[in-house]
Subunit: 470 residues, 2 copies
Amino acid sequence: MKENYLYLEIAGEIEGQIQKGLLTAGDKLPSVRAVCLKYNVSMSTAQMAYFTLISKSLIESKPKSGYIVSNWLKNSLELPQTSNPKMVHPGKTDDALVSSIFESINNKKVTRFALGAPASELLPIRQLNRAVSGAIKDLSGCGTEYDSIEGNSDLRKHLAKWFYKTGAQVLDNEIVTTSGCLNAIAYCLMATTKPGDAIAIESPAFFGLLQLFQSLGLRVIELPTNATTGIEIDALEKVLSQEKINACLLVSNFSNPLGSCMPDEHKQEIVKLLNHYNVPLIEDDLYGDLYFGNNRPKTCKAFDKEGMVLCCSSVSKTIAPGYRVGWIAPGKFKEKIVRLKMVNAIASTTLTHQAIANFFQTGGYENHIRKLRHTLHSNCLQYTQAITNYFPEDTKISRPQGGLFLWVELNKSINTVDLYKKALQNNIVIAPGKVFSLQNQFNNCMRLNYGLLWSEKIENDLKLLAELLY
Amino acid sequence: MKENYLYLEIAGEIEGQIQKGLLTAGDKLPSVRAVCLKYNVSMSTAQMAYFTLISKSLIESKPKSGYIVSNWLKNSLELPQTSNPKMVHPGKTDDALVSSIFESINNKKVTRFALGAPASELLPIRQLNRAVSGAIKDLSGCGTEYDSIEGNSDLRKHLAKWFYKTGAQVLDNEIVTTSGCLNAIAYCLMATTKPGDAIAIESPAFFGLLQLFQSLGLRVIELPTNATTGIEIDALEKVLSQEKINACLLVSNFSNPLGSCMPDEHKQEIVKLLNHYNVPLIEDDLYGDLYFGNNRPKTCKAFDKEGMVLCCSSVSKTIAPGYRVGWIAPGKFKEKIVRLKMVNAIASTTLTHQAIANFFQTGGYENHIRKLRHTLHSNCLQYTQAITNYFPEDTKISRPQGGLFLWVELNKSINTVDLYKKALQNNIVIAPGKVFSLQNQFNNCMRLNYGLLWSEKIENDLKLLAELLY
């Protein structure tokens, strides 16, 4: 048993005792040091076990008396309810607001809770630099020559293995590389839809996707989505039976922004359902590798027998956003996708794609991702604890089991676009809920990225955010 | 006076003597060594002067007697005539043929006359490797972080200077970087047209562009184009007056495949004409830096006062195809272009874009491009000479004054798709004329890339190509 998973075991054991009533509200728990000794683990593992329980609001930290079992039904912040978008054809995103959020990506003077990537301190930079040097040596022309249109062949061999770990059997020649995941999704949309077509998606959904849909002239059908289990199958089925849907796009694992993860049975059922209506599924599995539990969740692609799932991902949330390395397993749409890539870009950046292949080759990916998952889980729990401590009691918060984001729902009276502006004056950037829908929803919500390095500064900024609410 | 330009001066002097009748057909010219001594230049400069005159068929080399003045009216291959596409709305490209040509890009076992880039031996690889190392040092996160959406700011400062050399006044914040030039053009088309719209272009035109137009659902209006001066202004004016044209795309300098270069007056007139009809001009200036003469030709952008010219280029034909570094000066369409880049790709590859900025910074670009131009000019003359020597007398050939391509028109009875297949069996890839139009034209034409290293092998392959014609 790896040290990395031990904290989950320890947390699970304590959770079991609470559920069985062996530990009840107010009971004092052993100190962190005592847990270390009992389980023969490091301080950080013991701490993580307790953070895990805190995030579930099962225990809490009491000044001077250590950890006690919570009166958790009272203390825990609620989960956001399943979204309930109107089934009307919607308006537009606030382009200026979205642009202003995107601009904050490169402003390092602010606390970038709106960023959609891990802090660069969490990336395997030294190994990547070596991988780039290796790529310069390996490549004919040192990376100056055009890559093949389908993409670097070393990389695609590693990606075939990557797909295998998601439960999907995809050969290297069934994969096409792209300049990141959004680029992959753009090609998938171009391959499966035309202007005026309808696309079914989760609600809330990433604002970049919403803008892409608009740029392609698609009608966006936002569907009810649960913060834990993702899109509501009944709602999808209903809309499929009522009108012509040309494609469906889902972030199956640890969605952006909700953090929901579709259970395997949902994935299987949705693939079957969409097949029945002959609707291609564009699967965005950008966050699937960032799971907190013991096992990597499967992709919908794992259940795809007809080649109707176009599964997209990238290394932008795990290794190197700036390298622009993404990919698609496009199923029966492969030829179309290759042609689209050819006419829109000719080829990918030879050097960074070979560098990522080299990084996979060294086994660096597995090692790195294990550490990153650990850090993100710990961060997620720290953020959740801080928000529980500082934010109003009626705040609702998602419970992601992976990915990069917390979704925070505030009191209906609060407008997070105003909060965004106030926060910006305090050098904090949040992503206000409004931009995650075309339907003027989520005006009291926000998305927070916990991929930043946890620090006193981050905790203080979360506290400051809370103070701006009062 | 730089040594590089001297050969043109020498050639010009001799040409003048021929035109004045001071030298007539059959007259013996001084030996190359004598030219060296007379003008105090190197052997290669003297040789280039003679190659220049040979390419114009003014002189020829006679075994054992050196160079003599040609009976040039008889010996020179003719120029292809101005194209005359039917003004009907056309069919489709041969997708399989185009894919097969694109695949040959990465096949190093064949002689790649169909390639659209200089051989990697002609690229400044050592300096680029240093520029990459520098970029890793310079960049925060060593290039793993997202680039800004508009693009690397160092690079854009250098590009503003680059535009100045093309006669255009463009500020760094009026430039957006892209993943190469085709990617830039794709965004320009998305910004200015919608499916069903009409686009006016040269004929013949690059097959990648034709496929892009089709993928965007555009109606393609191919217009008569002169092998020396580019698109026929009268034809453009006529079509503008007759039907709604939504955009015009021109390769203003050293077009692909014709090699034509629009005279400045044509550029000025066309910008004015398109403005009158309120039609945006997408200018593809991919080859403008590869001029053989003394001065870099201007861009249409230089004559753009209304922001209606979207000028695109890249380093793919000059420094590093695989780096995927391109750019647009989109005029009044900038906001749209930024949004399109954002939703289709988020950002460019951070590392290679900074590397190119560093390469510009060292002054490496000017030095490199001077050498490259010299080599390409020499290659162009060698190819022309070989084709004149080996191909049938009724062969017509373009006289590019820059760029990478020769356009060869064979006897009407010859089908270059058949030639393509036969050549492929002999490990030679040509680009058959048919793929450069949607109108089943140019079936007796082909495009040859002279960006390969000149060698006996290349000469023999040209000879072999000629033999396949008989």
